[in-house]
Symmetry: C2
Subunit: 373 residues, 2 copies
Amino acid sequence: MTPAPASIGDALAAIDTPALIVDLDAFDFNIARMAAFAAEAGIAVRPHAKTHRCPAVALRQVAAGAVGQCVQTVGEAEAMIAGGISDVICTNEILAPSKLARLAELATRAKVGLLVDSAEGVERASRAAVAAGSVLDVLVEIEVGMGRCGIAPGGPAAALARLVADAPGLLFRGLQAYNGRAQHIRTHAGREEAVSRAAEAVRATQAGLAREGLVADVIAGAGTGTFRLETAAKLWTELQVGSYAFMDGEYASLEGEGGAVQPEFRHSLFILAEIVSAATADRAIANAGLKVMSTEQGRPSVFERPDIEVTGVSDEHSRLELSLDAPPLGLGDRVRLVPSHCDPTVNLHDWIVAVRGDVVEDIWPVTARGASR
Amino acid sequence: MTPAPASIGDALAAIDTPALIVDLDAFDFNIARMAAFAAEAGIAVRPHAKTHRCPAVALRQVAAGAVGQCVQTVGEAEAMIAGGISDVICTNEILAPSKLARLAELATRAKVGLLVDSAEGVERASRAAVAAGSVLDVLVEIEVGMGRCGIAPGGPAAALARLVADAPGLLFRGLQAYNGRAQHIRTHAGREEAVSRAAEAVRATQAGLAREGLVADVIAGAGTGTFRLETAAKLWTELQVGSYAFMDGEYASLEGEGGAVQPEFRHSLFILAEIVSAATADRAIANAGLKVMSTEQGRPSVFERPDIEVTGVSDEHSRLELSLDAPPLGLGDRVRLVPSHCDPTVNLHDWIVAVRGDVVEDIWPVTARGASR
């Protein structure tokens, strides 16, 4: 683990760079806004820990009313439960016997669930739970348009649910109906159509379940790009939103209902970087590159500096090009970069420096950093 | 730090996935090939630790004749020196006083250098070396076409070298003439032209240095894409190659002299992944995503399986699409993914599992993982 880039009480200017910082005013706003939405709509929120990999963030979400956390890996589940979260669903298919054994062991100490989309997955999970003497909650994942995991909705999903219901050590809880691709469709109409197709798949599967004498208590899914649509559909019971807490360049570019880009959450996550070279007036080089931010969704932007464009990112550098009328950047000057994709960016860091105004208020260890197994 | 995904002596099939593995036969071939080239050409090799962030790799490079290591950050320098490397150049501008103090302290125990491209950089480095009672080697970085760091070649660079030579605690050693952009020009002719422009910049600066009564003992630069060209130019004295040890999808796609793509190094670095969902015959989902491999240079390929295409990568998944005649992939089957960009991929991992044939021969900790400060 790398040394923390700051101490509690430090001034913003004293943070060693590059550093991952969270603006607490914006972060608190985002957490409160989602909590208020969910309370008013009467829907559960189970935020996704793949976004933050950080129990300190998870505990704040739970304190605001979240029912627990989603995770994507067994390592994330271990970190969340070690960090004080007592209700975790692994929104992923887990097949490896060694991983299922770890998950079943966690289920002796916390409420733990996972997804299945195959009979083999049901059998292996059942074996692990029986061996550990625990019970695993299970959601059957149905394919709702993402083209990734998930069994065909309707009859095949219902038949798999029947296997779950009959398997020792497993408790059939409901359906996972998540379309990750829909989160990133730029137009509101496009996202609406995707969610409406997912809703059809859910209804078809509910009908199949009824024929099996089963009921899905939980219908889980949704993300920061679509959660209002799933809520409006009145089928989903749990929102698995993640990015809303931090936001990123990609989510901030989505169009709202009228076509305007007006994100309802604030950017709270930044890479704090420093200028280390400024050989020409129209160019400055910051000490933040591919190893502190993920750029597969595009280069970062410079927060509140539309007059600066990031035109290149290498291992440890970003090239900043300044427009003609931009105030120049000199050696040692600092900028806040907005990452295009928050989840893999946070995973590059051991620490989140939580800043309120100009002061470091807290330092949060990203204890599930690297926990992809 | 995450638990290691395997133990020495394990069978390949027992490695927990996703895991970063190195095929030692290919790795040894690459190390030996570069060493043989350098010995025959009479040029020094100082491999770049930003590629591997792993002292175990660095020690093997030094055992094969490398003069030391390049690093890009002070944290990497600390990890390399702690890992047994005694000669390290930080091929980067370091401006922050706290970082310079760490570098100057390292110079009390090892040979340590850094780059400058500004008078401010010279003054700050000098102050740190004097305070620590150590001497820092300094290369003046000249801009040779990358558009990143580096002072203008010729007179400006020579004047900066004069400042270095006159500064207490600093030793002027020579020039850094590295064009990272040139490494990735696809055609051989394009790379040739870029190196020839860099050579002109070096010659102009050498003339300026002569007028100052200075000599550059070291001319450093080159990478895996161009090292034969810099060597042929008979100006460079040190090759800063990194990727050759592992190779990646991007380097493997470069054209050689006649236009053919025939990489002279072998792929030794892979993500070992496992199929966790196979809902349809033409599709399989592997448990390796953005958090175990960097995709900003493109999606990975599946090693020795041209009949499979990776058509999507999310946080923890890759979607593999199989051609019509491809043997199907079932749950639990394993694939080796070739990352498009090795440096940021290695940085996502705490461990490199070194495999010979079907057996785990060694486990190397990536001790500088995350060390971007």
